[in-house]
């Protein structure tokens, strides 16, 4: 967790295999599943990130991923801080 000027950023970082840019581009779309879409090895409807993104956006925040194939991924979201009163 990191405090910035007018927002707070929460990041989840792994040290896995990471992912390609083309994968990253579709990550927040509905029903997107890494790998073959008919391969149900990985559980899930492919809606988790979509819903997360929608929730964050509804809060006026942002969600993104930073990743490089072979060097892990970092998923981040931000929330705006309430204005100082």
């Amino acid at each position: 967790m990191k405090l910035e000027e007018d927002r707070v950023v929460v990041c989840v970082q792994d040290f896995g295999i990471g992912m390609s840019e083309s994968v990253q581009a579709h990550l927040f779309q509905r029903f997107y599943r890494a790998g073959n879409s008919t391969d149900y090895t990985f559980p899930g409807l492919g809606l988790g990130l979509y819903i997360s993104a929608e929730i964050v956006r509804q809060h006026g925040g942002g969600i993104w991923v930073e990743s490089k194939l072979g060097s892990g991924s970092t998923f981040c979201f931000s929330l705006p801080l309430p204005a100082e009163k």
Partner: protein, 707 residues
């Protein structure tokens, strides 16, 4: 005024004017009768000097014609014109007129005199010319007679020698000697004249004895050659002939000498400084009356500059020829005024496959297709060239083997005072033409592809804000085809008002940042007001130095049908989730009851199974909830229940849960208390999702850093 006035008043008026002018006093005439159309009238003439007096005739005269009545206002101070006065003035006037006449007569005579003098001068000049001509004639005759005398003298000298002491001849000799002296004198004079002349001309002049020995040279020779008379004498001249030219020149001279014919040669002669210059040398035999050669007259004219000019012309012609020959990509064809081929370049040989020898003397139609020949295209081309100074030759031509190719060129007439012919310069454009065709074909393919995909295409010049749409684009918007709107603003008019802010923002982002536009939006058709869904994709194809897009090309196509199916799908998912939720709740409830019963019975076999069942029900419930969430979000029915809470606490909770569920290595960084105003449950869901996303990816050696 005197001209204009009626006859019966003229003399009176003149008289009155004269008097008024002379005396400087007003003059009134007696009543005068005037015949008018109505009958007769009586008038008086009053003349009054207005300014100035009689001196120098300056000033104005006021003339009043007054119908004669009893009331004569102007007569008081006036002088009446008496008959006597009138006569006197008339006489004076006559005298004056006469004087004037004489003066003008004199003037005329003077001019005539001058004219005559001019004429005489001309005549005198003519005379002079004539006499000059005559003098010339005389001189010529004199020369002739001198010549004759000379020959006579010669003759008589011979006779004298041969004749000996015969007395009759002595007298004649005596006489003739007198003539000879005179002749000698004339000869000397002639010779002097000749020398002067010979030295005055720019040519080198010499003479040879009958046998060929050169015995006289003009000053120019000495100046040029730097040789002395002794050095030049006889065949001495040969020394300065260029070694390359000497053998031929000398041989030629010997021939001329032997034949007594004119010797004519071009050779280089060495100047005193060692430089050679080209000369035309000419030796003409001189004959006596009997036709015998008495000597030779020679001249050499410097033609070095002429040669240089010739050389320059030859060189430039050569250069032109080389240029023409090396321009193998171009056919350069010369024709005479009737279109007969007179020159045929290497390029023409290469392009048409006709050899020069084959093409020469052929009519220009040689390279035209039979169809064009039938249409008189070759003639039309030349006529156009004549009429406009140039004719375009852009047509299919034929090679020797009958194959055709597209050629582009021009035909121009060549003038040199009169029409000398035509020149055609042309290039084989087949390859370019093929390229053009290929390009057209490609364009056609794209057009067909876009049309069959029902895709509208556009090309936007961002800087000038000009948009070009294809046909389909107009169809999509419900506009008559090519009713061009011209710019971006015109397009935005079609966008659904609800989507407008969104469209504006994505366009701005594409232009200023990404260069890529990918968008779904609604338009309102112009023809029927129907709302249609559109998908748009575009890419920047040109950027300015700041990376800002200056030109963008894109497509737009109708996705209304897709959207409808999608909506149906959403609806189906919504309904399905709802329908699943109800039995699921019941199952969950029954499972809980079953669990309680088994616990009470302490059924160690059934209990773990029911717990597993419960887990699976939880999972199913979660899935259904997710689907319901998505449906709500899509339908815009998703609401947040915002509270103020500590984000760090939430993260700690979630981290603890994860640690329990799956004991991964998880490190939580950051310890600041941050209060946010948000939907605590939903944010928790986000955190769960992010963590679950990681965890559900089956990877070994994973390490999490939860910041």
């Amino acid at each position: 005024m005197l001209k204009l006035i009626r006859d019966e008043l003229r003399s009176e008026l003149r008289n009155a004017l004269y008097q008024a002018a002379q005396r400087g006093l007003p003059v009134n005439s007696a009543p005068l009768h005037v015949r008018t159309d109505e009958g007769s009238e009586t008038v008086r003439i009053h003349v009054r000097p207005v300014i100035g007096g009689p001196q120098d005739g300056l000033g104005f005269l006021l003339v009043v014609f007054e119908p004669a009545t009893e009331n004569l206002t102007l007569t008081e101070q006036a002088i009446s014109v008496s008959e006597e006065d009138a006569a006197q003035h008339l006489e004076e006037e006559v005298v004056r007129l006469r004087a004037q006449l004489r003066a003008s007569n004199e003037q005329h005579e003077f001019q005539a005199e001058e004219l005559k003098a001019g004429n005489e001068e001309l005549q005198a000049m003519n005379e002079e010319l004539r006499s000059a001509t005559e003098e010339l004639e005389t001189s010529k005759e004199e020369l002739q007679s001198i010549n004759e005398e000379l020959s006579t003298v010669n003759q008589e000298l011979k006779v004298n020698k041969a004749g000996g002491p015969e007395s009759r001849l002595v007298a004649s000799v005596f006489l003739d000697i007198t003539g000879r002296r005179q002749a000698e004198e004339t000869l000397r004079q002639n010779e002097n004249q000749f020398r002067t002349l010979a030295n005055a001309v720019p040519q080198i002049i010499w003479s040879n004895e009958a046998g060929g020995k050169a015995n006289y040279f003009n000053q120019r020779w000495y100046d040029y050659s730097g040789l002395s008379y002794e050095e030049s004498y006889g065949p001495g001249w040969q020394a300065i002939v260029h070694p390359e030219d000497a053998p031929a020149s000398i041989a030629h001279w010997q021939e001329a000498l032997a034949a007594g014919s004119i010797f004519d040669v071009e050779y280089r002669l060495r100047r005193r400084d060692g430089a050679y210059r080209w000369f035309i040398g000419r030796n003409v035999p001189l004959h006596d009356k009997g036709g015998n050669i008495t000597g030779w007259f020679g001249s050499a004219t410097d033609i070095e500059e002429l040669k240089e000019a010739q050389e320059a012309v030859r060189e430039s012609a050569e250069r032109l020829r080389i240029t023409m020959e090396s321009a193998v990509d171009y056919a350069i064809i010369g024709m005479n005024p009737s279109g007969i081929i007179e020159s045929w370049s290497r390029g023409a040989e290469r392009i048409f496959n006709w050899k020069e020898a084959e093409a020469l003397d052929q009519y220009t139609s040689l390279i035209f297709t039979p169809e064009d020949c039938a249409k008189s295209a070759p003639e039309a081309e030349l006529q156009t060239a004549l009429a406009h100074g140039v004719a375009l030759d852009e047509r299919w031509h034929v090679r020797k083997d009958g194959t055709r190719f597209f050629m582009s060129g021009v035909v121009r007439p060549i003038y040199d005072g009169t029409l000398r012919g035509f020149v055609k310069v042309a290039r084989d454009l087949t390859r370019e033409r093929r390229g053009e065709e290929l390009f057209r074909l490609n364009e056609e393919r794209y057009r067909i592809a876009l049309q069959s995909a029902e895709m509208g295409a556009w090309d936007w010049d961002v800087m000038a804000d000009k948009v070009i749409w294809n046909e389909q684009h107009y169809h999509i918007l419900g506009l008559p085809v090519f009713d061009t709107p011209g710019n971006g603003a015109a397009f935005l008019e079609f966008v659904h008002p609800d989507d407008l802010p969104y469209i504006r923002s994505v366009i701005a982002t594409a232009i200023n940042e990404t260069g890529i536009l990918q968008v779904e939006f609604r338009i309102i058709r112009r023809d029927n007001g129907e709302v249609r869904w559109m998908a748009g994709f575009a890419r920047s194809v040109a950027q300015d130095e700041n990376g800002r897009c200056t030109r963008m090309i894109g497509v737009m196509y109708d996705i209304t049908e897709r959207k409808r199916i999608e909506e149906q799908k959403e609806e189906f998912i919504g309904i399905a989730s709802h329908e699943l939720k109800t039995p699921l709740t019941s199952i969950k409830a029954y499972t809980e009851i079953l669990e309680e019963i088994l616990e009470d019975e302490a059924n160690s076999e059934g209990l773990p199974l029911v717990q597993k069942l419960d887990e699976q029900i939880e999972r199913l419930t979660e899935l259904v909830r997710t689907l319901l969430d998505v449906t709500a979000m899509r339908a815009g029915r998703f609401e947040l229940k915002k509270t103020t809470f500590n984000l760090l606490e939430l993260l700690q909770e979630k981290a603890a849960d994860i640690q329990v569920q799956a004991p991964q290595q998880l490190v939580l960084q950051g310890s600041e208390k941050v209060n946010v105003r948000a939907d605590r449950e939903r944010i928790g869901q986000v955190v769960n999702n992010l963590l679950a996303n990681e965890i559900s990816t089956p990877l070994i050696h994973k390490k999490y850093c939860f910041a």
